[in-house]
């Protein structure tokens, strides 16, 4: 340590509020004369006066440089032990003095907070000044003995904490003051957040923040326990949610503005627990359904984000699913609204999808809950929804649905397909769809063949090729028929007929066919069909044709006394009107006898001709509302007028009759029986012997529809009667496959 030239790089590493990094370079300073007797005392006096000036907030007589050197000289003479003790004593006493002033301080608690904050600010800034003078002591003596000595900065903090804890009530008052201020702020008053911030920093620096934090969290918990109960009672759910959201934001903001960063998480957790978690079931039972009914997107998304904070999505799922089931169930069971059921369900689904997307950020648990709930309620009523879905598709694919663009139609069909996906009885859908498709194709009622084909390919994607095979065959039959008709039209036979005859020749097993009707055709009509039959047999020998007159339709020219009209009518209507070529009135009985059309069909077809808009025929002496009777007299309307030249009278033909509906349903039931029988035989052939319950379980997994256990049992009994199966003589609950 004797070198004349020293080069010291000094980096201050003090605690909070320490001066910035600086480098002191000291060169060529002369060796001071060897210590005089008073050297140590003189030096200390000089330093003491500086300390006192700093503590009294007065300027020092000596320059900073001079004071620094004085300390350095004492240190180089290794006199630091004394020096350290004297300095420590000064810090101790000064801290005691200034904190003592705050004891018994009257005045309100906020004034106290200001005073203690000032005291703390003075204390730290003085400490920084003292440390810059005594830096050398820190750098030599303290470092060498850092096991048991505090740095100057730490001395300052140590004594401040010591007296803060020692003097009665000081710390308590700080904590109480802080908590009171926070409560004021929560109740809507403005407070000095800089003061709060500074005092929190003080507690942190003195490492007594934890005590405050604990009390703060307990207070917060109490505050929000009360608020969570009261606010919930006094307000509607949307207000409550909004308030809670605001509270969470406020507390978050508070933690940023003046609390220690570590408090943020436990603080938010307390708010979440008391305002959200504790009220999850209250919120759901008190207001969730309303929010759903009123489609309150914003409130629902607030609810979702709050629930997500406390992992209450499961509870939300239950409420969401419950709401859907409840709404869906009442829609399904409302027989009055059957006509609009599918449209209503599509709208419900749209609304829920919208909520899922905008409010529930497409949460997978909730998306699944929607699917599950739809599947639940839509299958509560077996068969009917499947039938209505098929009919809805029909209404959209019909030419009468003119207002819709191809693109819009695609959208609607896609939505319909989603409902279709939820349905268990897809065979019911298929049967009705087929029925309606047949009518659209055979009566030229299809809006667009492209749309038809697009729907078929959707169904294929959804249910597989075997589902749509039969439907596609129907299109093939139509194409084949068109080709056939083209060559027929080119033939000599065609020109001999004299009317525009078109014939669809269908493969019987592809189409829903009616039993052949034995109507009485006029001679020339029979001739027309014979001409075609001869043409057909030349192309396809070994085949016979059966005529489906019920779906046959015509255009006839009618000479009314008041003008000529073209009438679009069913074949049956044509046959009825032909009667009036000879005579102007008939009873219904007479019409039936001469045409041989079945009586219900006569009545149905007459309705179109008696209709007030197209009253080609009139019923004598009866009200329109009275049902048709066999003895009613139907006469030709000689005053018939219509503004159009071409009049459609056959809309009745494409409508479904009750009889058809029953037939379609019966066909499905019949087909299901075959499927059950086939499945039982398949399983038993494979397993040879099975007890009743195992067989039932197997059947439930293999069958594509949900069978009733009673029906299954009946089929098993039928198979036993037909000797496909037998019962085990030892155990009647075990079935045996008989070969």
């Amino acid at each position: 340590m004797n070198s004349n030239v020293k080069k010291l790089g000094i980096t201050s590493t003090g605690g909070i509020g320490a001066p910035n990094k600086k480098t002191l370079v000291i060169k060529n300073f002369k060796q001071l004369p060897k210590t005089s007797d008073t050297f140590e005392e003189d030096s200390w006096n000089k330093l003491l006066s500086a300390i006192q000036s700093i503590q009294n907030k007065q300027p020092t007589i000596y320059t900073q440089e001079e004071l620094y050197r004085t300390v350095e000289n004492l240190c180089s003479e290794k006199l630091y032990s004394n020096l350290y003790q004297k300095l420590e004593f000064q810090i101790d006493k000064q801290t005691e003095r200034s904190l003592l002033k705050l004891v018994n301080q009257t005045g309100d608690i906020i004034t106290f907070l200001h005073l203690i904050n000032m005291c703390w600010q003075d204390h730290t800034s003085q400490l920084i000044m003292i440390r810059s003078i005594f830096l050398c002591l820190d750098r030599t003596y303290v470092i060498q003995n850092n096991q048991h000595l505090r740095s100057i900065w730490d001395l300052g903090l140590y004594y401040f904490k010591h007296y803060l804890l020692k003097f009665p009530d000081l710390v308590r008052k700080v904590n109480i003051g802080l908590l009171e201020n926070i409560q004021k702020e929560r109740n809507g008053d403005r407070i000095d957040s800089d003061l709060m911030h500074s005092l929190v920093k003080m507690l942190t620096a003195l490492q007594i923040y934890n005590t405050f934090e604990n009390e703060f969290l307990i207070e917060t918990d109490k505050y929000y326990t009360i608020e969570g109960g009261q606010y919930m009672n006094d307000n509607e759910v949307p207000e409550y949610l909004k308030h809670t959201q605001d509270r969470v934001n406020e507390e978050y903001d508070r933690s940023i503005r003046y609390l220690d960063p570590s408090t943020k998480r436990p603080l938010i957790a307390v708010v979440e627990k008391q305002l959200i978690e504790r009220n999850v079931s209250n919120i759901l039972s008190k207001g969730f359904n309303n929010l759903m009914v009123e489609n309150r997107i914003e409130d629902l998304s607030r609810l979702y984000s709050l629930f997500q904070r406390v992992n209450a999505i499961k509870e939300l799922k239950v409420a969401f699913g419950g709401y859907i089931k409840q709404v869906g169930q009442s829609m399904i069971n409302d027989a009055q609204k059957e006509a609009t059921l599918i449209q209503d369900l599509i709208e419900l689904k749209d609304k829920l999808d919208n909520i899922l997307e905008l409010s529930f950020s497409k949460n997978q648990i909730l998306v699944y809950s929607l699917k599950e709930s739809f599947e639940y309620f839509i299958n509560l009523k077996s068969n009917k929804p499947a039938e209505l879905i098929a009919k809805y598709a029909d209404s959209k694919l019909r030419s009468s649905n003119k207002r819709m663009s191809e693109d819009d139609l695609e959208v609607v069909l896609n939505k319909l397909l989603i409902l279709f996906r939820y349905i268990q009885g897809k065979d019911v859908f298929e049967a009705f769809y087929k029925q309606d498709l047949a009518k659209r194709l055979l009566m030229d009622k299809s809006a667009s063949i492209d749309a038809e084909k697009s729907m078929i390919s959707k169904l294929k994607t959804e249910c597989g090729t075997s589902f749509t095979e039969k439907l596609e065959e129907m299109f093939k039959d139509i194409d084949l028929s068109n080709d056939l008709m083209n060559s027929f039209r080119d033939s000599n036979q065609f020109s001999s007929i004299g009317i525009d005859l078109n014939v669809y020749v269908l493969t019987g097993s592809n189409w829903p066919v009616q039993p052949p009707s034995t109507v009485e055709l006029p001679v020339e009509f029979k001739e027309y069909l014979d001409v075609f039959s001869q043409f057909y047999h030349k192309k396809y020998s070994g085949r016979q044709l059966k005529w489906q007159h019920g779906v046959s339709h015509c255009i006839i020219k009618a000479n009314f006394p008041l003008g000529k009209k073209d009438l679009f009518v069913s074949l049956f209507q044509t046959l009825l009107l032909y009667q009036y070529n000879d005579k102007s009135e008939f009873t219904i009985r007479e019409l039936q006898e001469s045409t041989k059309i079945e009586i219900d069909a006569i009545k149905r077809n007459l309705m179109g001709l008696l209709n007030s808009k197209t009253d080609i025929l009139l019923r004598r002496g009866k009200q329109k509302t009275q049902p048709l009777e066999l003895d009613d007299v139907i006469e030709f309307n000689s005053k018939f007028q219509h503004k159009l030249m071409r009049i459609k009278v056959n809309s009745i033909q494409s409508q479904e009759t009750a009889e058809e509906n029953k037939k379609t349903n019966d066909a499905v039931t019949q087909d299901r029986q075959y499927q059950i029988d086939a499945a039982i035989v398949r399983i038993m052939k494979d397993r040879k012997a099975l007890n009743h319950n195992t067989l039932m379980t197997e059947l439930f997994t293999q069958l594509k529809f949900a069978p009733k256990p009673v029906d299954l049992k009946r089929r098993v009994e039928s198979l036993i009667e037909r000797e496909y199966l037998g019962r085990d003589p030892e155990n009647p609950m075990v079935y045996i496959y008989l070969t």
Binding site: M443, D500, K546, P561, L571, Y580
Partner: protein
């Protein structure tokens, strides 16, 4: 009044000219094809033996191929295709 038909859209279904409803081998109606085919039509016609029993062509061929005796499966008489059919 005088009405006259000008256009007629008629609908018919075709069926095989067979007396029996079902094929004696696969038990399917003749309006349906045999179990190996997908759609009814000229690809899967019915055929008759001289005994007048009718089967899907595919069904009887399969039967004759898998049996030593060339017999009609219904009446056990010697199988011969009836000649006046197409």
């Amino acid at each position: 009044m005088k009405v006259n038909i000008t256009k007629w859209s008629s609908v018919s279904t075709w069926h095989w000219d067979v007396n029996e409803e079902c094929c004696g081998i696969c038990r399917m109606q003749f309006d349906y094809c045999c179990v190996d085919c997908k759609v009814p039509g000229d690809d899967c016609p019915p055929v008759w033996g001289t005994c007048n029993h009718a089967f899907h062509m595919h069904c009887i061929l399969k039967w004759l191929n898998s049996n030593q005796q060339q017999q009609c499966p219904m009446c056990r008489c010697e199988w011969q295709f009836k000649s006046d059919q197409k």
